[in-house]
Symmetry: C2
Subunit: 374 residues, 2 copies
């Protein structure tokens, strides 16, 4: 199975019989995580970082793993989330394949990978696992919980489950519920994997592997993670050199096609297909309004957000994001404000779409630094 | 082979040795077409309608085929394109499978379908075939050429090839060149078909048919033809009834997923996969600026548009269109105006994205009627 665990990973055991929202339980579960900085004596400087679908816990470099992390620009000594001041903890998501329990990890009851026997995964399960990890670490409260993309969903579930536990919340290109355009995209990505005969209902191995499905899924992901505006400037209609083209009928000939190939090459064999399916579906299922007591009488996402107890928040979105569109971060900020939170929303004109938080540091880092300067 | 020809179709023979832009030639070629209304004595009331990728020549009902056409709301007696006044001609696109020559039609040299032996198809070939059809019909000039979506590309190529032949031009959600986001989407759609083992380099039959690839391609098409805004209002997070769900792992459970299934059901077996590949690629290749004499010195789409000779034009786009975005229709209007054309651009707030011209008659029809009222 595909399971790459970054070298600086530590592991927090989840309680046995860890119950999952939609039924079933995990024995012998764990979250992989990394930390930076130190918990202060008052115990009030901990920052929890929750990732998108595919990143590992390696958000930033450290002595144990000097390779750059996925948010290297924003986490470290003197950086926007200053690890000279904050104790930063980033877990690999529950259900992922970077060291945390999920479909690719071993089911202790059988000694074999869980595959599709892993219980159905919800965003809320990831939030409960993160809290269990903090308990193991002896963290009794957070300066803030930060969530990017899918992590922004997990962060909202975390706030809902743990009233008053985090004083602050930074939501980066997240959402309080999945909407049909994003569901459609993710459903197609899952379909590309499921319909690959090599997926075989989750029973693949390195030799018989749903690479075609994973490549299509990843390419469709990349199309929706970036934006037409960025690609127009970056690739235009530039062709591949003749020696870069393949000879297949209808083979690639534009640079944009080669770019998608490159992303598929990097991803298809380095992320577990079953984990991808589980995490992808968990996003479709997420709807914070389920947790609104007034749901039965038409409770809304707005009402559910207004019930969250957090003192201050910043929600950042990007105008060119088609997967987690800007109005979803504005909705988060408005909802939190309605509950009395000192809440701010910033929409950025980054051309890089949903992925902007991973690349447009010029726009994101000053906002993040400002949020953490207090 | 999948080849559905509407019953009112007529056929125009293309000249033998019909030379294709990228090499090769067609013998025994033809375009299927339908007409409405009558050519007047002055011969100046002919309107040419050029379609998107998948429609047939059946743009509107007639005595020979009373079933509604794909632009029924806009073509007919007393309708925006009033067939009491205009002689309307709509061909099925060259390369399509609705009666015109293409990969699914018979290669007279072998008596077998062309399949991938059909010469590489360019948008410009479709424009030349349309002109050849008009010659057969004895049409020596056009009131206007109308192009929707892909047809908007063919229409621009037609104007470039036939200076002064058409007095007017209506471009609906078209483009003067393909840009990388749209190329990426179409490349993925082609990949879904090509990677289906049943495609078999174009040698499929009804029993061994690339249905999986065609279904994925169509679903991805539908995702990009509509818009997040429309789907949010139309589907929200509504679930399927339990008895509508399938029991497959990761099977569908949201209405939006069932909607995509429905579209795939209707399309996968009713449009020829090889034709789809040819037409899709022809759009990626299209770049009107190739025809600008100053191309060698950096000629632009704008310059190429400014060289077109047409007296009046209207370019209509839709704010929620992600496949042929609004700025591409604005570019057409601006470029034509720079060449002296009485040119107008209208951007519509339709929520239905690229497909709006097929459904949002309330917004489109008055504009079309206004263009044809003179």
């Amino acid at each position: 199975m595909t399971e790459y665990i970054p070298p600086a990973s530590q592991f927090a055991r989840l309680p046995d019989a860890f119950a999952m929202k939609r039924g079933g339980a995990i024995d012998g579960g764990r979250l992989a995580y990394e930390t930076w900085g130190r918990l202060n004596d008052a115990g009030d400087n901990a920052v929890l970082i929750l990732t998108g679908l595919s990143p590992s816990a390696h958000a930033a470099s450290s002595a144990g793993d000097p390779s750059p992390g996925w948010w290297e620009a924003n986490i470290g000594p003197g950086k926007p989330i200053d690890t000279d001041r904050y104790f930063v903890i980033c877990p690999n998501a529950l259900g992922s394949c970077r060291g945390s329990s999920g479909p690719a990890s071993i089911n202790p009851a059988t000694g074999e990978p869980w595959r599709l026997d892993f219980p159905r995964l919800s965003i809320e399960d990831g939030a409960r696992a993160a809290r269990a990890m903090l308990d193991v670490l002896g963290i009794s409260g957070l300066h803030s919980v930060v969530g990017c993309s899918m992590g922004g969903m997990v962060a909202l579930a975390f706030l809902q489950q743990n009233p008053g536990f985090a004083r602050g919340h930074l939501n980066v290109s997240g959402a309080a519920q999945a909407l049909p355009f994003s569901i459609a995209i993710r459903s197609l990505q899952r379909e590309a994997i499921r319909l690959d005969p090599q997926w075989n209902d989750g029973h693949y191995d390195d030799e018989h592997y749903p690479e075609t499905g994973m490549r299509l899924a990843r390419k469709l992901g990349v199309v929706t993670y970036r934006s037409a505006l960025e690609w127009r400037g970056r690739f235009g209609r530039v062709r591949l050199e003749p020696d870069q083209r393949d000879d297949e009928p209808f083979g690639h000939e534009f640079q944009i096609e080669s770019y998608l190939d490159h992303h598929a090459d990097r991803f298809a064999r380095s992320f577990d297909p079953n984990c991808y399916l589980y995490l992808s579906r968990s996003m479709d299922w997420f709807d914070l309004s389920e947790h609104c007591p007034s749901k039965a009488t038409g409770g809304s996402v707005h009402d559910a957000l207004a019930l969250l107890q957090v003192e201050r928040s910043l929600a950042i979105g990007v105008e060119t994001d088609i997967l987690f569109p800007l109005n979803q971060q504005e909705e988060i900020a408005t909802g939190l404000a309605a509950g009395g939170c000192d809440s701010r929303f910033v929409g950025l004109p980054s051309p890089q779409g949903h992925d902007a938080f991973l690349v447009d540091h010029e726009r994101f880092s000053p906002l993040i630094a400002d949020f953490f300067k207090d």
